[in-house]
Symmetry: C2
């Protein structure tokens, strides 16, 4: 058994470890002084915790700087690998990218953001926010609005309305409601016209109905100037349906298992 003494403050200690690890969020390399400040921990306490985390491989030390360690990457990778939507989506994301030449993402809502679980292909979306593990504002991102449009407003997370990358974007709740009406009219397809990143257009739709509780969206993005929007819309809608069938194990009328995605020739030729 653990001692009574060590049981008295487990929550405080867990919080200290968590806030220390979270201080690296957006800061790949930090000094002890920076960690102490960001995690709001006394320097001596931060140093003791860091030393132990370095021993365990959770944190790496490089001279006077610290960063998250490979153990963190290894464990974190298992989170998406066991995700039902991710497992079902992976072959279809590859097919989407291969046939369109555009970048395919699988994303989920996390509080006021979308979090990208997977990205296949990369052409122009080089910003960290578009990488797996990256976040974007839910109200600006196509994936975010595709997921919000499926939910009753009472089920929404608390949303924020940061400035968009371009001069447009969603500036408040009334505008969001109007946009989501359009998303629903388009059968669940949301469009991001350079709101997340200047020069990048994205289209997205949710995978399966809200009741399925997969909570994931599939999207395609590409350079705003040349993105074949209508064809990308058709491709993500078909992929979302294929992924949903694969994830739910529902028998399709035309036979068992997902059928290969057949894109209109013009989309395939774009790849």
């Amino acid at each position: 058994m653990t001692t009574a003494r060590s049981q008295e403050t487990p929550t405080a200690m867990i919080d200290r470890v968590a806030s220390l690890l979270q201080s690296f969020d957006g800061h790949p390399r930090l000094t002890l002084a920076q960690i102490s400040r960001l995690a709001n921990l006394p320097r001596s306490s931060a140093h003791r915790i860091l030393q132990r985390l370095v021993d365990l491989g959770w944190v790496e030390r490089d001279g006077f700087q610290y960063g998250l360690g490979l153990r963190m990457f290894e464990l974190g990778s298992q989170v998406v690998r066991r995700d039902r939507a991710h497992q079902a989506a992976l072959p279809f994301l590859h097919a989407l990218h291969r046939s369109t030449g555009l970048t395919a993402h699988l994303s989920v809502l996390v509080s006021a953001d979308v979090l990208h679980l997977e990205r296949i292909g990369t052409r122009a979306e080089t910003e960290l926010a578009w990488c797996p593990g990256g976040r974007q504002s839910a109200v600006h991102s196509a994936a975010g609005r595709a997921l919000l449009a499926q939910l009753d407003e009472s089920a929404w997370p608390e949303l924020t309305f940061p400035a968009a990358a371009s001069s447009h974007g969603i500036r408040g709740l009334p505008q969001l409601r109007r946009d989501l009406d359009q998303v629903r009219e388009r059968g669940g397809v949301a469009v991001d016209t350079q709101w997340c990143t200047a020069g990048i257009t994205a289209v997205a739709t949710a995978i399966g109905p809200a009741e399925a509780e997969l909570g994931a969206a599939v999207s395609l993005s590409g350079p705003a100037g040349t993105m074949p929007v209508e064809k990308a819309v058709a491709a993500v809608r078909m992929a979302a349906m294929d992924i949903w069938y694969a994830a739910s194990g529902v028998t399709r009328l035309r036979g068992r298992g997902p059928r290969p995605i057949i894109l209109p020739p013009a989309v395939a030729a774009h790849g």
Copy 2:
């Protein structure tokens, strides 16, 4: 300041949190009883820590089962995103996959294993061990032996010799030494002929010289029956050189920056 009492056992508490999180390694979903046993923690203590980790998003609860949470994925993703070798390698891994149709990996040595940081493409390598965040035995994997061949034996991690997937594979130190001599004779190229996974052949080479301390290898893998080994060897060698130039920022004789990979027509035709 933290209280004197809470400072008395920080190491023990960090270790408890770490061993609890690590109990999910290879076990996507666990019950409280399983976690308590795997992490060697009293049930009450495991339950208290879990509750707090659920609050923080590090662990997710689904009925009576627990799994690692998205916060873990999000932080873990940042580890490879800030990695110098990974940043430099990404466009070249995509190019390798595009031009050969084979699966490209970026991998590092972690104790007796290779850990895959990135995978582009997936054809036959569907096992979890080949995924980003997956591990394979260093002595059987092509990437592992390509990295070991660069190091003085005194710098090797402690190696293990598990059974290979096929009837061959490396069975002990004398055989490993003979194999690494061959790797060095081939200019640093290691080959895995179905030792990690039956039906999968892989070729790998280290990126840059050992002194560069990038510690990463690039590899190509594909179905054993149809893998164009010699052409894959030429492609990984060229990619390793391109990535090394990109990562080191060295000016190339023929001009600044990495040049595009030009594959022999036969390899390109295979894609």
